[in-house]
């Protein structure tokens, strides 16, 4: 059985170590927060917050307190607030230990595309380009194939890039792969997923 969304998030949470400052992207990466367990992790929200708490109880939403996905959230007793310039100062300045992001395509050299489909989807990169350029460890969490069944792990990206050679590790529904010299290396397979199956759904070179 390939991993479902929650299992992918649970696997991604294993990438986080005690004491880390971490930025989680929108979608499956947001679910990673549910699986950090006892680890002392501080979540950054790039709109200007360190120490992001859970969603508020009904009736306690605060319009002045949202995350980068524009969802209402809460603060913790460790929380700090700052402006967008300082927020990206800490991102660009390498102070954030890890970023977990979604992707449309990843190439075997670590190139990442996740911000636009020309002529179709023009939303913008938000903070993704800054994050992949500045954060120490970039982990992509995404489905191995797109809705049409085509692989998202390519020899080279076809969509406009978010960053070049920036991805360190990829967690898909089929397994975990690292970007290494010469291509991707299989680190782990999801339960009952064979290496042949993963290879058959991957265009990128597997070393």
């Amino acid at each position: 059985m390939p991993w479902d969304r929650n299992q992918m998030a649970e696997r991604a949470a294993q990438e986080l170590e005690d004491g880390m400052y971490v930025n989680l992207g929108i979608g499956i990466p947001t679910l990673v927060a549910n699986y950090v367990g006892d680890k002392d992790i501080t979540l950054q929200s790039e709109n200007g917050m360190l120490g992001m708490g859970p969603f508020p109880y009904e009736g306690e939403e605060d319009p002045d307190l949202i995350n980068a996905g524009k969802q209402t959230i809460t603060e913790l007793n460790r929380t700090s607030y700052f402006d967008s310039a300082m927020s990206f100062g800490m991102i660009r300045g390498g102070k954030i230990a890890a970023a977990i992001l979604g992707a449309m395509e990843v190439a075997e050299n670590g190139d990442l595309a996740n911000w636009m489909i020309p002529g179709k989807l023009v939303k913008g990169m938000g903070g993704a380009m800054d994050l992949v350029a500045g954060v120490e460890k970039v982990v992509v969490v995404m489905d191995h194939t797109n809705k049409a069944g085509e692989t998202k792990l390519l020899k080279s990206c076809t969509l406009p890039l978010t960053g070049t050679g920036v991805v360190d590790r990829i967690i898909t529904d089929l397994g975990v792969l690292d970007v290494v010299e010469g291509g991707l290396k299989i680190v782990e397979l999801a339960p009952d997923v064979t290496e042949d199956e993963l290879r058959s759904k991957t265009e990128a070179t597997i070393v």
Binding site: E46, D64, R92, M125, M129, A133
Partner: protein
Amino acid sequence: MQKVYPNAKAALDGLLRDDMLIAAGGFGLCGIPELLIDAVVESGVKNLTVASNNAGVDGFGLGKLLDTRQIKKMMSSYVGENAEFMRQYLAGELELEFNPQGTLAERMRAGGSGIPGFYTKTGYGTQIGEGKEVKVFNGEHYILEEGIFADLSIVKAWKADDTGNLVFRKTARNFNPPAAMCGKVCVVEVEEIVERGALDPDHIHLPGIYVHRIIQGEHEKRIEKVTTRSREDA
């Protein structure tokens, strides 16, 4: 020094003209200068270039200025929540200059700090880096980005005193300080103007030197995505 004005229209009097560059604070609908945006709509000024992380939503925030076609060009990082924006852009009716979010914030901060350009790794090797000067520092590639020098800044803060010292609240701070810094003139709307001395000088987020005009008003503070947990889950 008289910085306090009775309302948004009065505070913008004499500051608006066609073809100007306006820097606006806010992230999504959080901390946007909604009263000043409404006054810009009412003024009818057009061909505006607006530097703002987002473009509001349909019918609220900067979305109102899109509906009235007063904006010629947006400088933004994310415009995904606005169907009218997308329509105008895909139809070629609106210019859009995508800026990575941190680059946009730093361009504002730099402009307000007298820095006309800076180098950043962000966007190197992507469309964003095309046509920009590349420089290598310690073996890594950086692109030259330019400071933003706006004609006018419109921002939202929580509290101000009459000298323009500002305090923001929670994540509503976001782009407001850098946007405030980069304008020749900065107009601020707040929820409350307090007595001098009521704000702790150690807790001022943006000093009044950056602020030229202030208004106090009622804010709708619309929430874009209400997300909650139920008490039963606790």
